[in-house]
C-alpha cells in the first residue's frame, strides 16, 4: 500500500513562514516562562505531596476544612476528576515530613467513617530538590551539547549548530505548552523533555542523512533544491513514523493513568514540534546559512 507518495513540495520556499511561526511560538514560550513561570513539582521546590483515596465521595471543601484545623488551609488540594482521590501539596518548604504526617493523621481523624487509602506520598527536603534541579539542568545541557557534537561529526558543522537550535526550540515550546496547560514539572516530565531531545534529533538525522547522500548524487543542483528533494524523499517515512509514535503516545495518554499522562502529553507536544523543526528549523537554517555564505564544496 502506498498512501503517501513523494509530494514534491517546495518546503524551503516556505522557510520564512517557518521562521515567523517558530519565532512567535518560542517568544510566547519565553514570555510564559518569564511571566507565568513553570509550576514546579515537589521534586524541584522541596516540600510534600500526599495522595489519598477515600472510599466515599468528598469535596475539596471538606478536605480544606479538615486541614484548616491544623492551620494548613493554604495547602494546594487537587481532586482527580471522576474519582475520590485527592492530591495535597504543601506550600511551605520547611519540614515536609511532618507536614505530610500531620495531614495524613488529621484526615484519618476527621473522616474516620470514610476509610482512606494512602496512594502515594513524597517529601523532598529543599536541599535535595536543589541538587535535583542542578542535575536536571546539567543533564539537559549535556544532552543538547552531545547531540550537537554528534551531528557535527557525522554530518557537518552547520547541521550541528542548527540541530542544537532546533532542539532548544522544541524543548522551549514544549515547556511553554506545559505552562499553558498548567501541568506540573516533575522529574518524570523532565525525563520526557530529554526524550524529546533524543527523538527530535532522530528525525533530523534521517533528513540530514539523505542530504549527505544526495550531495554526491545530485552534483550541481542548487542547494535549496537539494534540501527540498531530501525532505520530500523522506517525507513518507516522516509521516508514517510520526503517525505510529503519536498513536502509541495517545494510548499512553488516555489509558496510562495519571502517573503517565503528563509524561505522554509532554512527548506528544515535543514529537509534533520535533518533526516540524527537522524541516522548518534545521533545514531552513542550513539553507539560509548556505544562501548567505555558500560553502565551498569539492566538485
Amino acid at each position: 500500500m502506498e498512501l503517501i507518495k513523494n509530494p514534491h513540495l517546495p518546503f524551503m520556499s516556505w522557510r520564512k513562514y517557518g521562521f515567523i511561526f517558530s519565532g512567535t511560538l518560542v517568544l510566547i514560550a519565553l514570555l510564559l516562562l518569564i511571566f507565568k513561570g513553570p509550576k514546579l513539582g515537589v521534586d524541584f521546590t522541596g516540600g510534600a505531596l500526599v495522595w489519598v483515596k477515600f472510599e466515599k465521595p468528598l469535596d475539596v471543601g471538606d478536605i480544606r476544612a479538615s486541614l484548616a484545623k491544623i492551620g494548613q488551609e493554604q495547602a494546594s488540594i487537587q481532586k482527580l476528576s471522576g474519582t475520590n482521590e485527592f492530591v495535597i501539596r504543601s506550600v511551605t518548604k520547611t519540614d515536609p515530613e511532618s507536614f505530610a504526617n500531620m495531614v495524613i493523621s488529621q484526615l484519618k481523624k476527621d473522616f474516620s467513617d470514610n476509610p482512606l487509602d494512602l496512594r502515594a506520598k513524597e517529601t523532598v527536603e529543599p536541599k535535595i530538590s536543589r541538587e535535583l534541579t542542578r542535575n536536571t539542568i546539567i543533564g539537559v545541557i549535556v544532552a543538547l551539547f552531545l547531540m550537537g557534537i554528534y551531528v557535527w561529526f557525522r554530518f557537518d558543522f552547520r547541521f550541528g549548530v542548527a540541530s542544537v537550535i532546533a532542539l532548544l526550540h522544541d524543548v522551549l515550546i514544549t515547556i511553554g505548552a506545559l505552562i499553558l496547560t498548567g501541568r506540573e514539572f516533575t522529574i518524570v516530565v523532565v525525563g520526557a523533555l530529554l526524550t524529546i531531545v533524543g527523538y527530535s534529533i532522530n528525525d533530523t538525522i534521517v533528513i540530514s542523512d539523505r542530504v549527505r547522500e544526495n550531495r554526491n548524487k545530485l552534483r550541481g543542483v542548487p542547494f535549496i533544491d537539494l534540501i527540498n528533494t531530501s525532505i520530500n524523499e523522506t517525507f513518507s517515512r516522516t509521516m508514517l513514523t510520526g503517525f505510529f509514535v503519536i498513536v502509541t503516545l495517545f494510548c499512553l495518554y488516555f489509558l496510562g493513568g495519571p502517573v503517565i499522562a503528563d509524561f505522554a502529553f509532554t512527548l506528544i507536544v515535543g514529537l509534533i514540534f520535533g518533526t516540524y523543526s527537522s524541516t522548518f528549523v534545521v533545514c531552513a537554517l542550513v539553507t539560509e546559512w548556505e544562501l548567505r555564505s555558500p560553502q565551498k564544496r569539492k566538485r
Partner: protein, 503 residues
C-alpha cells in the same frame, strides 16, 4: 545468497535465547500459585518491578549531626550497618540499602507497612537503665517552695498542683506538658545534682491522656550496648494492667550481667527505670538481686511493637538520629492500578502499530512485526537476565522502543520502495534498501542511546528505569530490526524466488 542458512540459524538461536531469558518472568507473573521455593528461584531470574508498580518506599536518610559533640568520620557507615541489620531482621524481600553521597543512606523497601518500617529504621534505640530517686516527693515540695518565693505576681500555680497519682506513680495531663517543662527549668537550682526529670510515654488514665513523671539519676547504671539478646513474648506475670500485652526479654553480655547483679543487689527496694530514647518505658521495683543477667521491658506493647523493639535492641542503637531527606512512597493499590493501566495502554498502542504495519506493508509488515516482537522479548529478556527493574516510565520506554523499531523498518521499507520504483530487481532493491537505510538507522539509534545514557546518569528512581529500557531496547533494535528482518526477507525471496514484492 551465501550464508543465508547461517543467518537463519542465528535468528533461531536469538529467538531461543530470548524465550529462555523471558520465561522466568512470564512464569512468575502469570502463575496463580507458586511454591515459595519456586518463587524465590524465579525471582532471581525474573524482571523486577519498581517501587512505583509494586508499592513501597524510597527513602533518603541523612545522619543528623546537630547535637552531637564529636562527629566521627564513619558515623554514616555505622548507621548504615545498623539500619541494614534491622531491615534484615525485619524480613523485607530484596531491600536496597546503599550509601549516597558522603552523609546519606538510600533505602528502597518494596511492599512494606510504611509507618512501621519508618519507625523501625529511624528509632535511635538508645537504651539506658537509670535508678529512680527515692526523694522525688521531697524534691517536688522544695520546687514548690522555690517557685513560690521567686513568684512576684503570686498568681502562679505551684508545681505540685499539676500533678496527680497514676497507679502509684506521679503523672500529669499531657496538655500541661509545656508548663511542666517550663517550671522544671525554672526550678533547676533545687533539683539535686546528678538527677533529672524524665517522662513516660503517653497513656490513657481515667479517660485522660497522661504521662508519668520520674526523677532519675543522670548517670545510667547500664546501657543498651551491653544487651546480648532481646526477644519478644506475651506477658505472663500477675499484673492485670499488662495482661494481653507483650514484653521484651533482655539478656546481658557476661560482664554486664555481673554489673547488673551487683546493681540490683545494692539497690533492693529501689526502682530501676528502663529508659528508651529518653522516654521511661517502665520503672519496676528491685525486689532481689538478679544474678542471671536478665531483665524485662514491659509497657503495654502490642505484638508488632514488641517484635520491632526487640529487633531494634538486638541490632543496636543508631549513633545519631536519621533525618528524612527524601521520601517517595507508593501504596500497593496505586502500584497495582499503574501496572494494569500501563500494560493495557502499551498493549493497545502496540496492537495499533502491528495492525497498521500489516495493512500498510502486508507480508513484509508481518516480518517487521515479527522483528518487533523479538525486540520486546529481547528487551525483557536482557532486563531479566541482568536483574533490571521495570518502572512505570519503563513501560513507556518499551512503548517508545516499539515505535523506534517500527521507524527502522519504515526507513528500510520506504527505501526498498524507492529502489523498486527506479526499476531495480527485488533482490537488489532489498540489498540496497537495507544498506542505504542502515546509516540513518544507526545514527538515529545512537543519538537516542546517548540521550538515554545522559538520562540514566542525571536521572533518579523511575527515570533511570525509563533510560535503561530505552538503551537496551535500542541496542536490541539495531540487531532485530536490521539483521533479523533482512535475514527473513532474504530467506523468503531466495526460497520462493520472488520477483515481485508487495510492500
Amino acid at each position: 545468497m551465501r550464508g543465508i542458512g547461517f543467518r537463519i540459524a542465528l535468528v533461531i538461536i536469538i529467538i531461543i535465547v530470548g524465550l529462555y531469558t523471558i520465561y522466568p518472568s512470564f512464569r512468575l507473573y502469570s502463575a496463580k500459585e507458586l511454591s515459595q521455593e519456586e518463587e524465590r528461584s524465579l525471582l532471581k531470574r525474573a524482571i523486577h518491578l519498581g517501587l512505583d508498580l509494586k508499592g513501597g518506599m524510597h527513602l533518603v536518610l541523612e545522619v543528623d549531626t546537630t547535637g552531637l559533640k564529636e562527629k566521627p568520620a564513619d558515623l554514616r557507615d555505622r548507621a548504615l550497618e545498623i539500619v541494614k541489620n534491622r531491615i534484615d531482621e525485619f524480613g523485607v524481600y530484596e531491600p536496597t540499602i546503599e550509601k549516597q553521597g558522603s552523609s546519606r543512606i538510600l533505602i528502597q523497601l518494596p511492599g512494606v507497612d510504611r509507618e512501621r518500617a519508618l519507625n523501625l529504621i529511624r528509632k535511635v534505640a538508645h537504651l539506658e537503665f537509670k535508678l529512680v530517686s527515692d526523694k522525688t516527693q521531697d524534691v517536688i515540695k522544695s520546687m514548690d517552695k522555690y517557685l513560690a518565693k521567686g513568684d512576684t505576681t503570686g498568681f502562679q500555680e505551684p508545681f505540685s498542683s499539676y500533678l496527680f497519682g497514676v497507679e502509684g506513680d506521679i503523672g500529669f495531663d499531657v496538655r500541661d506538658e509545656d508548663s511542666i517543662k517550663m517550671l522544671i527549668t525554672q526550678a533547676k537550682e533545687v533539683i539535686p545534682e546528678g538527677f533529672e526529670f524524665y517522662f513516660g510515654p503517653k497513656e490513657i488514665y481515667q479517660g485522660k491522656e497522661v504521662k508519668r513523671l520520674y526523677l532519675l539519676k543522670k548517670e545510667p547504671e547500664l546501657t543498651g550496648e551491653t544487651v546480648r539478646d532481646a526477644q519478644h513474648r506475651p506477658y505472663q506475670g500477675p499484673e492485670l494492667q499488662y495482661t494481653g500485652s507483650w514484653v521484651i526479654d533482655l539478656e546481658f553480655k557476661r560482664e554486664a550481667a555481673r554489673q547488673f547483679a551487683s546493681i540490683t543487689g545494692k539497690n533492693i527496694g529501689k526502682r530501676l527505670a528502663i529508659v528508651l530514647d529518653d522516654v521511661v518505658q517502665s520503672a519496676p521495683y528491685i525486689r532481689e538481686r538478679i544474678p542471671q543477667g536478665k531483665a524485662q521491658i514491659t509497657g503495654n506493647f502490642k505484638a508488632e511493637e514488641a517484635r520491632d523493639l526487640a529487633i531494634v535492641l538486638r541490632a543496636g542503637a543508631l549513633p545519631a538520629p536519621l533525618k528524612i531527606a527524601e521520601e517517595r512512597s507508593v501504596g500497593p493499590s496505586l502500584g497495582k492500578d499503574s501496572i494494569i493501566k500501563g500494560i493495557r495502554a502499551s498493549l493497545l498502542g502496540s496492537l495499533f502499530v502491528v495492525l497498521f504495519m500489516l495493512i500498510y506493508y502486508s507480508l513484509t509488515g508481518l516480518i517487521a512485526n515479527f522483528a518487533l516482537l523479538l525486540n520486546v522479548i529481547f528487551l525483557i529478556g536482557i532486563l531479566s537476565a541482568f536483574g533490571g527493574t521495570l518502572t512505570m516510565p519503563g513501560i513507556a520506554g518499551i512503548a517508545l522502543t516499539i515505535a523506534m523499531s517500527v521507524d527502522a523498518n519504515i526507513l528500510i521499507f520506504e527505501r526498498i520502495k524507492e529502489e523498486l520504483r527506479i526499476g531495480k530487481t527485488v533482490r537488489t532493491a532489498i540489498d540496497q534498501g537495507f544498506s542505504r537505510a542502515w546509516l540513518a538507522i544507526f545514527d538515529s539509534n545512537v543519538t537516542t542511546i546517548i540521550t538515554g545514557i545522559v538520562l540514566y546518569i542525571f536521572g533518579t528512581g523511575p527515570i533511570r528505569g525509563f533510560a535503561l529500557t530505552l538503551i537496551i531496547g535500542l541496542i536490541a533494535n539495531l540487531i532485530t530490526a536490521v539483521f533479523v528482518t533482512k535475514a527473513i526477507l532474504d530467506y523468503f525471496t531466495y526460497k520462493f524466488e520472488v520477483t515481485k514484492l508487495r510492500i
